[in-house]
Subunit: 205 residues, 2 copies
Amino acid sequence: MPTNKTDHLVYVVDDDFAVCDSLSLLIQATGYRVKGFHSAQEFLDNYDNKIPGCLILDVRMQPMSGLELQDKLLAQKIEIPIIFISGHSRVLDSSKAFRSGAIDFLEKPFDNEILLVRIEEAIQKNIENRTQNFEHEIIQQRIESLTLREKDVLICVIKGFSNKEIAILMGISHRTIEKHRGTIMLKMQVQQFSELMILLKEILI
Amino acid sequence: MPTNKTDHLVYVVDDDFAVCDSLSLLIQATGYRVKGFHSAQEFLDNYDNKIPGCLILDVRMQPMSGLELQDKLLAQKIEIPIIFISGHSRVLDSSKAFRSGAIDFLEKPFDNEILLVRIEEAIQKNIENRTQNFEHEIIQQRIESLTLREKDVLICVIKGFSNKEIAILMGISHRTIEKHRGTIMLKMQVQQFSELMILLKEILI
DNA sequence: GTCTATATGGGTAGTGATACTCATATATTT
DNA sequence: AAATATATGAGTATCACTACCCATATAGAC
């Protein structure tokens, strides 16, 4: 789908005011919405989970470093792609950042063009993540709307058991299974059995 | 499944003979099979794709650097997890390595214990990759065994069309669709429709 | 020219699933 | 006490799928 750059928010977090401001201006000039912060805590206090975007993050900051913020975000399951920027950093920091899922780790001074490319990549990734999480939530909600008995039947249906087989397994009439199965299709909002399988493909065995 | 360390092969590639030999000994002592090489080309000439394992790779080598070897392996679609080791390296190299899929990037001198943990991680990843690739190949082979007409019918079946609907779509009798469908189930080696969907879940829409 | 694979079409019988209708029992909520 | 949700069971009719059987036509391989 076509996305508008103004729909996306790029956070810039750097305790160096000059860097933070100039980067913010640069990124803003390419059309993105930008919010600049001078500390990790400020970012945490102002982060808005509803808007897709990414985070340009300085590694060395006090009292909370960029790497510590990354850990905190991971612990809180906040999925915002991070592009680290660093003045005089070590390979060890870079490894730590990447192994924790960073998009990139750029040393100052870096080519602005590369940063912009990485921002594009990061935002795309964030959008995909959000789309997938959203779809998973929808499906999860539908599953939660099933009763315990219906969930049992659903599992058997997915495994390929016929209604009669399920009836024997559960020790009840196949007519009851038929009724449960009908309710499952209603609550899962699908018409065909194949739709049900496609809906559940991420969760499947 | 339980795996034996001797079933896995750790390649060590470093043009520093002392490092290569001592690392090989260390890794061998923990139970893995090890092959040491002193150049990227030597590794390429001796790499055996049949054995699960990983690659400990020095960054700076002549004439082919570790990063160049990584690119070459990617281009040739050789999926062996790489743990880079480096004497005096730059963050830029580290970023390049990680963005190309490296498991880790360790600066010498590094903690041997960490290397061994990363080797374990890398080999696990390689085994998972191989298992998945193998399963995909099996499924792909079964799909290839279908005739063109059967593939057409399969696509419609997955989409949830009934035999009669497919018959109308393709302008032929529903009896022929039934025959195709039977052959599809035979060739795909499944009994239930749900099995077919589960088999194809990775490929699905 | 025969053999094989592919694609086509049909009959019949059995099994499976769905869509209606009807009904009862229990537990929880209001 | 009445209403709702959950779980249970059945009758009947219709539709969908499978498994047998039968058959024909065409293209390519040997």
